[in-house]
């Protein structure tokens, strides 16, 4: 797959060189292919999703691994894993019919055009990756050997202290891995994001920290790829190459994240 993408995207690299990933504007009709707004969109949306889902998922995982008796824990874990399998199109549907209006009302003071914004996509993604973070973090906590906690308790530390000073630090590698993998999943999600992000090109804000884009519609790499442009683009070699170039960037990005997350998770706990 990697090879195909590389080969097919060669024309756009020739055409635009580095301004392809870094270029700010995308107007395919004038052969202008800048991917930066989409890269920005993908990253921002996934980042916010992780920021929202991370702490909640961690706290929940801490609860299930440290405080729940094993029967309850199995039940909760199974329920969460089940819920992790909800198809993304269903999340998208909920996003369209429920979340969108809610966000619109939320952002009234910013005078948004509609409920389709980067923020909407981010919130939806947060819900989608929550189960992933929870299960992986729970596994990470469980893999801390029981004797470590016992030794801390034997010294007189109470349960919270044993959790915070023993379990948490030792599970750190697994937790970071969980977050990275969840981030990767968020970046790669197409359907749900497509339905609520607005699909508006060229929305790169002038400063990195501006909150404006959250309130407006935007575009991510995945939402671009999932749109009708893909079908149209095939006729024109350069346009097609640009689309494939996007796919290539996505593939490389996610693969790197996955690889990195796995490396971290592999490291021994000591």
């Amino acid at each position: 797959m990697l090879l195909t993408f590389i080969v097919q995207s060669v024309p756009v690299w020739k055409h635009a060189g580095f301004s392809f990933p870094l270029g700010k504007e995308w107007f395919f009709r004038t052969a202008l292919f800048g991917a930066l707004p989409m890269i920005y969109g993908s990253i921002v949306v996934a980042l916010i999703a992780v920021v929202i889902a991370g702490p909640i998922g961690l706290g929940a995982a801490l609860f299930t691994s440290e405080y729940l008796p094993s029967n309850a824990r199995r039940f909760v874990k199974t329920a969460i894993e089940l819920l992790a399998g909800i198809p993304s199109v269903v999340y998208g549907l909920l996003g369209v019919l429920l979340l969108r209006d809610w966000v619109y009302h939320l952002l009234q003071s910013f005078d948004p055009l509609s409920g389709d914004t980067l923020l909407t996509a981010a919130i939806l993604l947060a819900i989608m990756i929550l189960p992933t973070i929870m299960t992986l973090a729970d596994d990470a906590f469980r893999s801390v050997p029981h004797q470590q906690r016992a030794a801390a308790r034997a010294l007189g530390l109470n349960k919270a202290e044993a959790t915070l000073f023993v379990s948490l630090p030792q599970a750190r590698a697994g937790i970071v891995a969980a977050i990275l993998l969840a981030f990767g999943r968020a970046i790669g999600e197409t359907i749900a994001v497509f339905l609520v992000v607005g699909r508006q090109d060229n929305q790169l804000p002038s400063s990195v920290l501006s909150l404006r884009p959250l309130v407006e519609a935007g575009q991510t790499i995945t939402s671009k790829l999932g749109g009708s442009e893909t079908n149209i683009a095939y006729g024109d070699p350069l346009h097609w190459a640009a689309m494939v170039g996007l796919a290539l960037l996505l593939l490389l990005g996610v693969s790197f994240l996955t690889w990195f997350g796995l490396r971290l998770g592999e490291r021994p706990n000591a």
Binding site: Q8, F63, Y91, L130, G188, E189, T190, L225, G226
Partner: protein
């Protein structure tokens, strides 16, 4: 102070856990309440009419089932072969790690990329146009990691003494595979298959360029230019337009059916997963 933290921590974490459960359960509830009114035998057994405003989802359901069935036919042999190669024939630890890594990379690849790749390969290069077979193959490839990993974990946890006993009796490697490894891991194969099927059933992105259309197809004939209707794509298209309220409850109904399919398949995998959880904990 310490006592305060000691009490606050579980409370805080408990709130998180509750929040997570409530959100996710709420999602299921939302779909169920909205979709239930639309479910009836008519709905399930009739085809779509008027772009989803009336009629049922028969062909969508059949299409999805066809795709995942094809996918599993593709995935099972490859997953088994992969697992065996990695566990039995490959001995160097680095190669083992590389295969595992590759499997996880495959698993983590965004589904849209499969869609684009499939588009290039099947629709254009092979000239199949939109074809159910292309969709089935793509979904199958996506199922491979789930199945293979389940198998590999299982095979590696088979107690060495079984293998040693078999070898001691004089069985050859092939015989050991057939008489010890495969029977013992059949359960995991089922588990992995169900999980893979569940995941594949819900996928939209891999099939939207390659295998499915919104309207106008019933059952496929032949391979080229034979797309199918599918549940996820149906929902996807309808979700995009501002649409007729009459179609709305059918839309939820379709979503509910899809959800039921996915959950049903996942639940089938459950009893086996519980057993393997137990084993893992007893180690």
């Amino acid at each position: 102070m310490r006592k305060l933290v000691n009490m606050a921590l579980p409370a805080l974490c408990g709130v998180c856990a509750l929040l997570a459960l409530v959100i996710l359960a709420g999602i299921v509830a939302a779909i169920a309440t909205r979709g239930l009114p639309a479910i009836s035998t008519n709905f399930l057994l009739h085809e779509m009419k008027e772009a989803g405003v009336s009629g049922g989802i028969l062909y969508n359901l059949l299409g999805t089932l066809l795709l995942i069935a094809t996918g599993s036919l593709v995935a099972v042999p490859i997953a088994v072969a992969l697992a065996l190669v990695r566990c039995v024939y490959v001995t160097s630890p680095t190669k083992k790690r590389v295969t595992t890594l590759w499997l996880y990379l495959l698993n983590g690849t965004p589904s849209i990329l499969f869609g684009i790749f499939g588009f290039i390969l099947f629709v254009k290069v092979l000239g199949w146009g939109k074809s159910w077979l292309a969709g089935g193959i793509l979904l199958g490839v996506m199922m491979i990691p789930t199945m293979a990993v389940a198998l590999i974990d299982r095979i590696e946890s088979i107690p060495r003494r079984y293998i040693e006993a078999a070898a001691g009796l004089g069985l050859s490697q092939r015989q050991i595979i057939w008489s010890v490894l495969l029977p013992q891991s059949a359960g995991s194969l089922l588990t992995g298959s169900f999980l893979g099927l569940a995941r594949a059933a819900g996928e939209t992105a891999p099939i939207m360029f390659t295998a499915t259309i919104f309207a106008g197809a019933t059952l496929p004939s032949g391979i080229k230019d034979s797309p199918v209707l599918t549940l996820p794509y149906h929902i996807f298209i309808l979700a995009q337009d501002s649409f007729d309220p009459a179609a709305s409850s059918r839309l939820w109904g379709a979503a509910l059916v899809l959800l039921a399919l996915v959950f049903g398949l996942s639940l089938l995998a459950l009893p086996l997963r519980w057993r393997s959880h137990e084993e893992a904990r007893n180690d």
